[in-house]
């Protein structure tokens, strides 16, 4: 089953994400990071840039992937990912308001490319924290006439 093209432009309800110090450490450790600020107990603690994946890829992606009207299926790979950052890195205690939306659905051969944007703002100020754009490739489900 192909994805539902009518969902392009759909905006899902915003979710909140609170950045936790131990979560930053866990993420930094998984990547073998060495910057001591990622492991700091103090006010200098910050998150690595791709910690944004923890905030957006699954939380934001699930809004779309679990939408029965979209028609997602499990034969997928992560095709590309973009993060645009605001003026400062994330740090413990930051509360983010994150709004997922479906930016595009494109067919290439037999595959479908779904791009989900997640706009994350600092809840207290409304300033941009990070804008994430993830493209998920659904393998083999493009409509047959376009796959030919």
């Amino acid at each position: 089953m192909a994805l539902n093209l009518d969902k392009v432009g759909h905006v899902y309800p915003a979710y909140r994400y609170e950045v936790a110090r131990e979560k930053i450490r866990e993420y930094a450790r998984a990547l073998g990071e060495t910057d001591p600020r990622y492991f700091s107990d103090g006010d200098d603690c910050v998150a690595p840039p791709t910690f944004a994946a923890t905030v957006t890829v699954i939380h934001g992606g699930h809004a779309a992937l679990e939408d029965p009207e979209l028609g997602a299926h499990p034969v997928l790979v992560h095709g590309s990912q973009r993060f645009e950052y605001g003026d400062r890195p994330l740090k413990p205690g930051d509360v983010l308001e994150c709004t997922p939306s479906i930016e595009s659905i494109i067919h290439k051969g037999a595959n479908e490319f779904l791009t989900i944007a997640v706009d994350c703002r600092f809840a207290h100020s409304g300033d941009l924290a990070v804008l994430a754009k993830e493209t998920i490739v659904f393998l083999g489900s493009a409509p047959r006439e376009e796959a030919a």
């Binding site: 866990e26 998984a30 600020r37 840039p49 791709t50 699954i58 939380h59 992560h78 095709g79």
Partner: protein, 127 residues
């Protein structure tokens, strides 16, 4: 910083422990990254592959370390061009392609030990 400068390389091994650690850290529990019987059915390689975001994370580590800290990073954009097979090593690096008044652009790459280019991208850092 000038055009042609190379980032110090960063490398990583994909194995079940690394996959499980990344799954827990990121919340991405897709069994494609640790369950062989699931991967046999849906993986492009018919076997377990590393999280694409682990590749991006290591490319970002190379970029951020070279740039002098995470506050320097303005954007990172990558394409995950080939799967990273379980049980293999990949290396990540980059080359400066433009130096402007405010930002420096770096072309990022990731290569698997099997010769595949698994990641291509652009990083933009603040000067």
């Amino acid at each position: 910083m000038k055009v042609g400068d190379e980032l110090p390389e960063v490398s990583g091994e994909s194995n079940l422990v690394a996959s499980v650690m990344y799954a827990a850290a990121s919340g991405d529990y897709n069994p494609l990254h640790y369950d062989k019987s699931f991967a046999e059915h849906v993986s492009p390689t018919k076997d377990i592959i590393a999280h694409g975001m682990m590749s991006m994370g290591l490319a970002s580590r190379a970029l951020t370390g070279w740039a002098g800290g995470c506050e320097k990073v303005a954007s990172i954009d990558v394409r995950l061009t080939k799967p990273w097979p379980i049980g293999t090593k990949s290396t990540f690096g980059g080359t400066v392609t433009a130096v402007d008044d405010e930002v420096v652009t770096v072309e990022l790459w990731g290569r698997n030990e099997n010769g595949d280019t698994i990641l291509k991208g652009l990083g933009v850092v603040r000067r």
